[in-house]
Amino acid sequence: MSVVTQASPAAAENNAAPAREWRPPSYWPFVIPALVVVLAVIIFPWVFTIWMSLQEWKVGSPTVFVGLANYLRLPTDPRFVEAVGHTLSYTALSVVLPLVFGTLAAVVFHQKFAARGFLRGIFIMPMMATPVAIALVWTMMFHPQLGVLNYLLSLVGLPPQLWVFNPTTVIPSLVLVETWQWTPLVMLIVLGGLAAIPTEPYESAQIDGANFWQVFRFITLPLIMPFLFIAGMIRMIDAVKSFDIIFAITQGGPGSASETINVYLYSVAFVYYDLGYGSAIAVVFFLLIVALAGLLLYLRKRLLWTSALGDGA
């Protein structure tokens, strides 16, 4: 932590120093309590997890150092490999759909209309509400016989679905909940971006007679790109880790059709109490999230480059 070197010279009482040599006082006392907490609940668990991942560690039996054996077990564990696949498809859908709907909603909320603040409050309720409570109601709505969703489908002439009870539709159904829940966050971030856009490009576009779609495509979209990127990044991190909704609605089922890495990690660590293997999954899971974030950063660089080229031409 490079922070340490920065403030240490000012550690002595600075009251005695004459005004000429006045130096900014040390702010370390303000940070130390939080540092202790962070060390205890964030850093310590991390170090301990890495150490545990090198052990054969099951609750109730003695621990044995096994080196990388837990990690080597991962690629040969079909349930883990499948969970990675489920996580990736769940995440991809849960990033793209909220980005699309959230951007549309932001464009609408950027207009002026009555009761906008209140309606925005209503709109963000899904992401603030307790996930387990929401999951419970969605479970009832997904019910194949009594659920309201199949009733709504029947109104528009579509056949009833099994939703979360069918292995092929379970992930899209859960993504529906995730999208419903997290579109508001994308909307808020993009709305912040829209508020920062200068008005000049719009005025000249109006003079040139551009239509709504052209304005959106060639002015708004490029200008909010950085915000969309941030929203996508946050969405990715949260979607990969999504647990409450999946666990409360399907517990990874039917079978293991919706078992993501996080849900599998729960089973390994707290159902089978295989803590060493669970720790290895936690470490790999974290690295996967970092890798995905890195991939997004790389993609952004590529996109910036190409869009700069396109705009200049």
Partner: protein, 274 residues
């Protein structure tokens, strides 16, 4: 009024309606489920507004012998975790902002990225060794994983925007750092305190994953208690929906009342979090 303008307004209100309706309809349906007797909840096509409201669903939830225990567990865990986080996080946010120690934010970023379950494995063992399982202490401590980064993050943002001149003047006049913090910086940052507090409360209240591992029969928080109801009474939807609504009602109320602060906090935190 030209027709183009009117058409534009109609289009706008239609889009507003379409955008807000998934949220509104969901919560109305939740309310409807919670106020219906089993006959209405089990009928097809579904009944939206029942002839007789089943207020007894709510009475049953409150009357069930453990509900008040779980409610007070939730209050204690969220209250302590938020209080402690404010106590250590607000000064830390101030210190980090004044030292311009931006690299320390990496720790918060790691905390943001790390799945909650990975904290649970080591801390679960630690609490077991310390013999704390069965009390609320483990949950209070582990909720700090959620609340402390939120508070620090938001407070850094607020203290960075408050003017330095006043603080420097007070320091030269001989005030101690603590006095400057307490009497100059803190009053200016009051809106930030509200934002940090509200968000920490909401995310702690909603937390589920820590509870399912660490909570015993007596130490469940409300989300865990509701989850356990799902597994045990799959069939009585009315009381279940009523319980779900009771659990999330404080948060929903806070969201509508404090939507300005929540929006400010989420966009600031989110934008900086990237």
């Amino acid at each position: 009024m030209n027709p183009r303008y009117i058409l534009g307004r109609i289009g706008l209100w239609l889009s507003v309606f379409v955008i807000v309706s998934p949220a509104i309809l969901f919560f109305l349906w939740m309310g409807s489920l919670s106020l219906k007797f089993e006959i209405d909840n089990a009928s097809y096509p579904p009944v939206f507004i029942p002839e007789h409201f089943a207020w007894k669903n709510y009475a049953d939830v409150f009357a069930s012998n453990r509900f008040l225990t779980y409610f007070s567990n939730s209050l204690i865990v969220t209250g302590c975790a938020t209080g402690l986080a404010m106590l250590v996080g607000v000064p830390a946010g101030y210190g980090i902002a004044r030292m311009a120690a931006h690299k320390s934010a990496i720790v918060i970023l790691i905390a943001r990225i790390t799945p909650g379950l990975s904290y649970l494995i080591p801390l679960f063992l630690l609490f077991q060794w310390l013999g704390l399982l069965g009390t609320l202490v483990p949950q209070i401590i582990i909720h700090l994983v959620v609340t402390v980064p939120i508070v620090i993050w938001i407070m850094i943002g607020y203290f960075e925007t408050t003017p330095l001149e006043l603080e420097e003047a007070a320091l030269i006049d001989g005030a101690t750092r603590w006095q400057v913090f307490r009497h100059v910086a803190l009053p200016i940052a009051r809106p930030g305190l509200a934002v940090a507090f509200i968000l920490a409360v909401i995310f702690s209240w909603n937390n589920f994953v820590f509870g399912i591992v660490l909570a015993g029969r007596e130490t469940r928080t409300l989300p865990v208690a509701v989850y356990n109801m799902i597994s045990f009474d799959q069939l009585s939807w009315g009381p279940l929906a009523a319980a779900a609504l009771i659990v999330t009602a404080p948060v929903l109320l806070l969201t509508v009342l404090a939507q300005r602060q929540i929006v400010a906090g989420l966009t600031a935190g989110a934008v900086k979090g990237g």
